[in-house]
Amino acid sequence: MIKVALAGNPNSGKTTLFNGLTGSTAHVGNWPGVTVDKKEGVYKKCAEPISVVDLPGIYSLSPYTPEEVIARNYIIDEKPDCVINIVDATNLERNLYLSTQIMEIDVPFVIALNMMDAVEKKGDRIDAAKLEEKLGVPVVAISALKGAGLNVLMERVYKASKEKRVGKTVLESGALAHLIRDVKIALAGQGVENPLFHAVKLAEEDELEVKAHKDTVKMVEEFKDTFKDDTFGDDFEALIADARYKYISENFSSVVTKKDKEKFASTKSDKADRVLTHKIWGIPIFLLVLFAVFHLTFSEDFLYLGKIFGFASLEDLGVDTEAFGGQLLACFYDGAVFSPGVIINNLWNDIIVEYAFGWLIGLIEGSSMAGWAIGLINDGVIEGLKAVLSFLPPILTLFLFFSILEDSGYMARIAFILDRMFRKFGLSGRAFLPMIMGFGCSVPAMINTRTLADDKERAATIRVIPFFSCGAKLPILTAVAGAVVAYFSVGNADLITYGMYLLGIVTAILAVLFMRNTSLKGETPPFIMELPAYHAPQFKNLMIHLWDKTKHFVKKAFTIIVASTIVIWVLSHFSFTWAFLEDEQVNQSILAQLSMLVQPIFTPLGFGSQLGTYGWVFIVAAISGLIAKENVIATFATLAACLAAMAGSGVNLAGLDIEAEEGIDAVQAMISATGIGIPGLIAFIAFNMTTIPCFAAVGTAKAELMNNKSYKGTLIFWIVSSFLVASAVYTIGSWWWTAFIWAAAIALTTWCIISYNKRANEKLNDGKLK
């Protein structure tokens, strides 16, 4: 099959072209060793099928970003039959800069001149035929958005792929022409492939080339000693960049005819930016957009219509919510109209998943299998799958909104306006979005960290994402806070909930500051970012994007997550003698026994040994939260029933409804069994918020970190931070004066880090001087 690679600048319409060419044949993988998507597909409308690989968006072929290295290695090592270089016609000169580099490689090469419609709309004209003549490679005008010109493009690609092409350079007449020619001859003599490309890169003293051709680089160094340019000195790299741009503007600007002779005209996009990136209004507008996104995804009172008009609930209206019609109606409305995100979620979870899995569970229950096997399949595997699949709607809805922000070009502006604030914590503005997405769900948030260029910054961001308490942790907050208020009749449940959110954010900031000054030290990368022109997002692109995410998530749900769910289920339903236990006998399970064993470790956190015989329930609940945080409260309900069944536990369920969904009564039962106090309960929330997140998030973190050491470090980080935060909450809550000890400890740590770093810096500088 003919192999074709698609290369071009970011925001040049590359993805749209790729989707247009390959349609449903596309699949996404990863480039080896890095988390950059590798997309491949097949174009079938030519005489032969053509496989298309989408290279990452790049500005040049120098090896400074992982994307550039990938694109460069692919073209040179994998030797595609042809390269399609997509060029944004509205920014021709800058885009041709990359073309002049690809031109130097001995590979057939076709230019797809994209966004010609936008150029014409402005009243400008670009002469594609003239450009083709000047460049000496085929140039085809296309519109990736409208799908125009794709067949012509691929016909020419097909033809070009059948012929050999020898690299050419635009640097033939410049000051370095001699050097490049000599190095090229030397490299060709050594049998190096693509001698021209390597010669130019060697002249630029490109890192990778200097390493690969240690002998030949001497030629460049010798030449450098004899050379001096008035403007650039001996900075060959700048000299070559300048020469490329000069050549482009001298030779190719004549193909553009501009309607406005005026040099500067501000576009609609610029006008929008005057408001959206405004000094004062930029941030409030962004907060409004963010609020809208979360409101549309999670609000159970769309536009607050229910509150404003005081709608009646379905029960008051006399609707039978047990019947199918009522259930369906309840997905859309119950005393308030739900937001689109919640409606999708309800339809998926209450109707599709509930009925499909309900049917499956009924089928298995009716079968003649052994009791433990039915339990394993139903409660272990199927319930686990249900728990994981229930995440799908909010993840996809959030993803959809964030993809819209990304596609429209607004995301780049958000990163820009927040950059100044984030720089203080040692992160760049781009880190904000993944963090805020964490309030919805950690999984899409962690995947979104791919927009961060620096690995250490990425690791730090991934680690603190779970501290931005996700939707599934909210039930723990409301249940425990509600129980505190109900049982001890103090405080305000909402206030406790908000306070815990705040605690998560503060922990995240402190943790980032700590990591960026110790284990994940590194300079915050400078913020240099292209702001693409605003445009309406493409429906087709959005859907393809969502479909990719769904496949990715479901695949994971059926492998690692199900496996972990089964392990936890087995541990909580078998005793050490491998006898099967009913739900109510959970106290005899391996999990409970192990929890009792580790109970002392949790003493400083307020829910350890001091709680006596039944203290282990909190530990079991926390461990079951590893599957999904919703389980924490569900486990309380199970355990409350189990404790009540045991004589002498002192649990009195009179007046309590432990099956109630909010879990407040179940937590109250726990409080009366263990005698835990308010500090212990708050510490329990804090522990669950900051400890290892659910398996779905852990699996994602593992995939995104790409390196095992960093992944293990992350697990340890979560454990340590949750112990520290929870014990701080417990001790300060129990004995207020311990706040001073914690403050002193933090101050001491800060001082140690600062002075250590200072000394390390001095040493480094000394070393440099010597």
Partner: protein
């Protein structure tokens, strides 16, 4: 003068880029080359949005103090 202090909506010529190698290279790829032209579209608290070639590029305060320009 550094581009932070440059007047908006005026065409400027780039005199020097004093950034470290990697940053300089990235800027070159985006079209920030000595003797090239650039127009500042907006500037707030040190951060700058400018027009380079036909593209719009945002720079933080650190980077924008390192690009020296003069009115063209």
């Amino acid at each position: 003068m550094p581009i932070v202090l440059a007047p908006v909506n005026t065409e400027l010529r780039i005199l020097r880029v004093i950034a470290e190698e990697k940053v300089k290279k990235h800027l070159e790829n985006l079209g920030v080359v000595v003797n090239g032209t650039v127009t500042v579209l907006s500037s707030s608290g040190g951060a700058v949005v400018c027009k380079i070639k036909e593209g719009r590029v945002a720079l933080d305060r650190d980077v924008s103090t390192k690009i020296l320009v003069t009115p063209a």
